[in-house]
Amino acid sequence: MTVLPPLLLPLLGVPLTLFLRKKRKIQSALALTLMLAALGATLALLATVLTTGEPVTVQLGRWPAPFGITLTADPLAVFMLLMAHLVLAAGFVYAAGSTEKVVQYPTFYPLFLALATGLTGAFLTGDLFTLFVFAEVIVISGAALTAMADDRYGVEAAYKYFYISTLASAFFLLGIGSLHVSYGTLNLADLATRIAENPSAPLTMAGLAFLTATFLIKGAVFPFHFWQPDFHAAAPTAVSAMLSSLVVKVGVYGLLRLTTLLFAGQTGLLPSVLVVLGVVGVIYGGFGAAGTHNAKRMLAYSTLAQIGFMLVGIGWGTPLSLAAALVFTFNHALVKAAMLMLAGAMASRAAVKSASFEVVVGVGKYHPFAGVLFLLGGLALAGVPPLNGFISKLLIFWSGVQAAQYLPLAVIGVASLVTLVYVVRSFVKIWFEANPEAKPKAGDRLWAPAFLIALSLGLGLWSQPLVALAQYVTDWLGDPSLYILSILR
């Protein structure tokens, strides 16, 4: 039963904060309390999984799998959940100290909690269709939150996102339909068993293609990324930090499930496609980030590149490269959330509220502490020690060397220099260049990014727990029958 609280707490929060919509302080305090409790519950869940060595599984309604819906906290799910709830808690802390108007709209917290619910559910569910439904929850809450952002491009960005997500939903349904027609079941464990038994049903590979396209859209992978830069840049800062760090990871998670569970051993060209798209994404995202004139947009492009690294790791598919992809996923979530918060916090201190470099140039003069955080976060993005980004880079390079994948390795190596270029340039712009119009001004609180950067630094200096956890997850993923047996006893 310990699998439920991380999901139910934010879910219950949606109506509760809606009841409290007129009392904003209580509303925000309640939302934060619930999310912290959910983080605690996630940690408890992690402890249970690690101590028993078994996933925690709940068959909803006590219907045996595959007839009902399964929620399962297997090592991968719990790994993603830990990442999600750490960052979400920070996101709610940021929202509580945000000066944006959007956080004061009565429906902000219900929608934000729904986003948290969707994320949690997507990682916990053991059912393909329920994953679709949770993805819908994420889409609709994310789109609504961005549409109502203070940024005047929010509506346009949300519109495009919603449109493209509708396309993704269609792909998703086609994928689910193809597999359901072929195998008659929606339960992941059951599907995996049946696909392994008969991998050559007429629609199996079509299903794989549809699902791959879906998760590539969710993860904003080139050339399915078009919604992402606008969307992540325009969203309210607290939300954008979640979108760019966590929501795209649903795509990464989906691809992991495809390659290691559903189609384990039957992936065909998928790994190669992932490596190619990952490498292209690393290049495209890197250059895109270097070419933008807006700090938040730069970080959004940077996510394109970082997701590329993860795809490369998944594509290589060796134990070390999978562990590297997982560590990358986790570390990137912490850092990217913190960086977007910092960019937003500086935008809130600019003369006009905007993260455009023309506006935020020189704003850092009065906020040296934010500068220290931004520089640390930027170095983490660029993979410079002693920050956690270095561990990610170390592992992914190492796995590339081990797997003798020299060409992709060379490309992502050069591209990671581009990361250094854009983070340093943006730091120099905001903190080193002079701007007579910059005035001391209060803005969004820095607690949340400070927490995340501290965590990044901590995980850079002492990364053993994370790496060991990722290896534990990788070992688990290495044998899909473990997952299947834990559900279809």
């Binding site: 039963m1 439920l4 949606v14 109506p15 509760l16 809606l18 009841f19 909803l60 309604g61 006590r62 219907w63 595959p66 007839f67 819906i69 108007k101 429906t107 929608l111 329920t130 819908e136 609709i140 609504a144 939150l145 549409a147 109502m148 493209i164 792909f171 027609v181 008659g184 079941t185 007429p202 629609l203 079509a206 794989l208 293609a209 791959t212 396209a213 399915f224 078009f226 060209l269 998928l270 250059f287 070419g291 933008t292 492009y301 410079v384 020690p385 002693p386 190492w398 060397v401 020299y406 190596g413 990671s416 220099l417 340093v424 120099v428 260049e433 002079a434 053993q464 790496v467 060991a468």
Partner: protein, 983 residues
């Protein structure tokens, strides 16, 4: 006690913290400098003691045992040599820093500090930031040379790049400082990435990261086919760090750093990191042809380029920087050799260079500090004013020039000895001595114009001679000490055996074998001495002709620089960036086309297109196609086409509505009455929503949008048609295959059919699936519905209002209050009012039956909610917004959603409490023994239906209400917005 190795690092880390704490201390900069210098000095002593105890010694703690990585330290002769240089010169530099920021020169910094203190409310003129940076750098540098494995070394390596960036950009208001800092970080950072990859290759091949393993794996490493790759990567890292041609360009620009940093980082320590690395790895990777040729050629080129470019400079710091480049080239070339004498020359040169160059740099800083300029064209004649400094610079300059009896002479002699070593291959055996002589002459020339131009030459501009005087002793002491040492080592009559032994140990570690080091200046008349004489005479000749030579040098190849390479790289990067962002054109149509085509690509790649299957099974089976189905099919196709080709948005929306209804007809015929019913109500609701949203858009905008949608060039039209056609074809193939292959019964169907009635009490398995078997999906779907409502509400109620979007013109009809107003604020017919009054209760009755018997028949909480909402929508249409809100005062939509969702969650938890699992079925009616009408059971399924109904009603009316909301004035919303704006 191996833990002593960690002490030097801890001591310096302590220094960093103390430096940060000094922010508020009532100290002057010199006092702070003396105080903080204690830490590097203590580290120096600790290192000495540790070295004296045992060498080599290691210290290792597990760092990432998951991958077998440790944090380890290693102390042998080589690391001790570097470590002592770092902490020793570091101590002097910290003292020097205090004086450097003291007094007049610090005024601009003071100003800055004062401005900052206006915000942070403290009065302090201590350059804590600089002290902290320089100590942090020292920590990284010391860690680098003490590291016991490749990963630890790399971590500290990057640390030096970052702290160097911070130090170069210290005066960040100066654009040159920012640019120089960026350039150095770009080049060394790029090298760092290569280095990491190279290290990983080494670790992969040798099976361990620690030096013992790596150094013992020479055979595996040098014979591996990957050797050229890993060698190039590591060499790239080392060359960029140690400013080898053509990566040397960052070093002169790094001179924008405050002089203490230049003296420390960019002459004595950081630039030697690459040298250290190459020397350290020489036993494992060296002594191959590739190693020899690369290091020799790059090193010799760098030596010559640096010497030549330095001779052209007027500014003292770039002059010294280029001579450093030259010296670094010498060191690289030496490591390339495989002779004992080369490594003897290496260690002697490292020490000699560190001593004289730091002395010269610090002196240059003093001259700058005292006279306000570093330009040779403005300096001159300072001998009388600054005799002490002349002494320091004179000695250091002689050492740089390689003249006896200075330590630098010894360095040059051994260098020449190794340059003329008989084992050198043919070409190098002539090139090496030649370049060494030429570079030696140029370096001597540089040293000479440095000292001459500053102190001895008449002032360049006699009217405005440079003014200055010797500074406080504390200021000149730091450069004086290393200068004095250069002299002492040279002139001491008894050879300092401990130093010779120490250097021999260092050389041994780098060479991999025993090296004999003697520090005797006089070794008899031999080839090196003769060459040395040639070099000195050449240098003196050049100096004699300086007034002709310097202009000639400056005129010669004025643009000889590889900066174009760097600028070009960055320009290329920016151009690619522009291209990358340009792909993001903003046209949704293009985006969608690309995505659909990419999906097609994936289908092809994965061999997922079922066309083969379709062709095999093309049985045109028309049984079951009756008139009604044909009608539905035709209606479906026709209205779908119409929705694309109709040019007016309203018509297109209606056509889409028809598509939905046609699908519903098809469903009803299937027969799937549940699905058909849901399809009908959803279709009506969505059509109403679409039409209402049209009314929100101003007419002119709508016309433009329609025009834009249908304006399309001929190729564009063809392209779109192709994309759409292909997508349609794929869909058709997939659908056909699905229909052909689908089993009549899926795996789960028998279970549902068997258990629906006994376990959930539902006759209708669709109902059972929706609220029992897959209740979680339903719960999340109503959440989606609720979120859509809340989103639209917030967007229209707050966000667009805030943006000042007023789409509908205000019209104030002159009518009595509470007049029912319909569309366009026109009064509506009382007959229709009766209809509305009648429809709402009817809808409620219908809805309630749907919920009560949803388990057994088509219809459920969702349809109930939509039906009631549609009835309410009628009210909105007939009575207008205000009247409806007044008449239906109970319709509190947000609360309804909240209640609905809460009920849904609590109900699910009820299953946990009474049914043994979350969402498990519970029959409360039976449990409590309630008398209930037949066919109705008070189960948690029913409560779930109620929850669904409430949520859907709330969300649907919220959407309809806000879309139909008159926008002209809403005092309530304005007040709320004002409240938000104020905070």
């Amino acid at each position: 006690m191996p833990h002593v190795l960690i002490l030097p690092l801890l001591l310096i880390a302590l220094g960093v913290f103390l430096a940060l704490l000094l922010r508020r201390a009532p100290l002057t900069n010199p006092q702070a400098g003396w105080l903080l210098a204690v830490f590097p000095f203590a580290a120096f002593l600790t290192l000495l003691i540790a070295y004296g105890q045992a060498h080599p010694q290691t210290f290792s703690v597990p760092w990432m045992p998951a991958l077998g990585l440790n944090f380890s330290l290693y102390l042998d002769g080589l690391s001790a040599l570097f470590g002592l240089i770092i902490t020793g010169i570091g101590t002097l530099v910290v003292i020097y820093t205090g004086y450097y920021f003291d007094g007049a020169h610090a005024s601009e910094h003071l100003q800055h500090a004062n401005r900052k203190s206006a915000i942070t409310n403290h009065q302090s003129s201590i350059e804590t930031r600089f002290f902290a940076y320089i100590l942090l750098f020292m920590l990284a540098m010391l860690g680098l040379v003490l590291a016991g494995d490749l990963i630890t070394l790399f971590v500290f390596w990057e640390g030096t790049s970052i702290t160097s960036f911070l130090l170069i950009s210290y005066k960040y208001k100066d654009e040159a400082a920012r640019k120089g800092a960026f350039k150095s970080l770009f080049i060394t950072g790029g090298g760092g990435i290569a280095l990491l990859a190279g290290f990983l290759f080494v670790i992969h091949l040798s099976g361990g990261a620690d030096f013992q393993t790596v150094l013992a794996s020479r055979e595996i490493l040098t014979t591996s086919p990957l050797y050229p790759v890993l060698f190039s990567l590591i060499a790239l890292g080392a060359f960029t760090k140690s400013a080898q041609f053509p990566a040397h360009i960052w070093l002169p620009e790094a001179m924008t750093a405050p002089t203490p940093a230049s003296a420390f980082l960019h002459s004595a320590t950081m630039v030697k990191a690459g040298i250290y690395l190459l020397a350290r790895l020489n036993p494992a990777l060296g002594n191959t042809d590739l190693w020899f040729w690369t290091l020799s050629l790059i090193g010799l080129t760098t030596m010559l380029v640096g010497a030549y470019l330095g001779a052209k400079q007027n500014d003292l710091k770039p002059l010294l920087a280029y001579s450093t480049v030259s010296q670094l080239g010498v060191l690289v070339a030496l490591i390339g050799q495989d002779t004992e004498i080369a490594f003897k020359a290496l260690v002697i040169s490292i020490l000699a260079h560190a001593l004289y160059k730091s002395a010269l740099f610090m002196s240059a800083g003093i001259i700058d500090h005292e006279t306000g300029t570093r330009d040779l064209r403005k300096l001159g004649g300072l001998l009388r004013q600054m005799p002490i400094l002349f002494g320091i610079m004179g000695i250091a300059g002689l050492s740089m020039a390689g003249l006896p009896p200075l330590f630098g002479f010894l360095a040059k002699e051994t260098l020449l000895a190794s340059a003329t070593h008989p084992s050198l291959p043919a070409v190098i055996s002539t090139v090496f001595p030649l370049t060494t002589v030429l570079a030696g002459a140029l370096i001597l020339f540089q040293a000479a114009i440095l000292v001459w131009g500053t102190f001895l030459a008449p002032p360049a501009d006699p009217k405005h001679p440079a003014h200055g005087h010797d500074p406080k002793p504390g200021f000149w002491l730091p450069p004086a000490l290393p200068a004095l040492l250069s002299l002492l080592i040279g002139v001491t009559p008894v050879e300092p055996a401990f130093l010779a032994n120490f250097l021999a140990e260092a050389a041994k570690a780098a060479y991999g074998d025993k090296v004999k080091v003697s520090l005797a200046l006089w070794t008899g008349i031999n080839v090196p001495l003769i060459l040395s004489l040639v070099a000195v005479s050449l240098g003196l000749a050049l100096f004699w002709q300086r007034n002709r030579l310097r202009p000639a040098l400056m005129a010669l190849l004025p643009n000889l620089t590889v900066n174009a390479l760097f600028d070009g790289t960055l320009r290329g990067l920016d151009r690619l960036s522009k291209t990358a962002t340009r792909l993001q054109g903003g046209k949704l149509r293009v985006y969608l086309s690309i995505m659909v085509l990419s999906l097609g690509g994936l289908l092809v790649l994965f061999n997922g297109l079922p066309f083969g299957f379709v062709l095999e099974h093309q049985s045109l089976n028309l049984t079951g196609l009756n008139v009604l189905r044909l009608f539905a099919l035709l209606m479906l196709a026709a209205s779908a086409l119409l929705s694309v080709f109709l040019r007016r948005d309203l018509h297109a929306i209606l056509a889409v509505g028809v598509v939905g209804l046609a699908v519903a007809v098809w469903m009803a015929l299937e027969p799937a009455p549940d699905v058909a019913l849901v399809q009908v109500v959803v279709d009506i609701l969505s059509t109403v929503i679409l039409i209402l949203s049209l009314t929100l858009i101003p007419r002119a905008l709508r016309l433009r949008a329609m025009e834009f949608t249908h304006k399309q060039s001929r190729p564009g039209l063809v392209r779109d048609a192709l994309v759409a056609g292909l997508a349609g074809l794929v869909m058709m193939a997939v659908t056909l295959t699905a229909l052909e292959t689908r089993p009549r019964l899926s795996v789960v169907t028998p279970f549902y059919a068997e258990n629906a009635k006994p376990l959930t009490g539902a006759k209708d398995i669709v109902g059972a699936i929706v609220v029992d078997f897959r209740a979680a999906d339903t719960m999340m779907e109503i959440l989606v519905f609720a979120l859509a409502g809340l989103g639209i509400y917030t967007l229209l109620h707050y966000a667009t209002r805030k943006a000042g979007v007023h789409s509908r013109e205000a019209s104030a009809p002159d009518l009595p209050p509470h007049t029912p107003l319909g569309v366009h604020n026109l009064p509506t017919s009382p007959l229709l009012h009766v209809l509305a009054y009648a429809v709402l209760p009817l809808a409620f009755v219908l809805g309630i039956t749907h919920m009560m018997y949803g388990h057994d028949q088509p219809g459920d909480g969702f349809t109930a909610g939509v039906i009631i909402s549609l009835a309410i929508a009628l009210w909105y249409m007939l009575f207008g917004y205000y009247e409806t809100r007044r008449k239906l005062a109970w319709l509190n939509r947000n609360t309804m959603i909240a209640v609905g969702l809460t009920l849904a969650v609590l109900n699910a938890l009820g299953g946990l409490a009474f049914g043994g699992g979350l969402l498990a079925p519970v029959d409360y009616g039976k449990m409590l023994g309630l008398p209930l009408p037949p066919g109705f059971a008070l189960t948690n399924s029913f409560l779930f239906e109620v929850a669904i109904c409430l949520t859907v009603m709330g969300a649907a009316t919220l959407i309809l209400d806000n879309l139909g909301h008159p926008r002209e004035d809403d005092p309530e919303a304005e007040a709320e917005l004002d409240a938000i704006g104020e905070r």
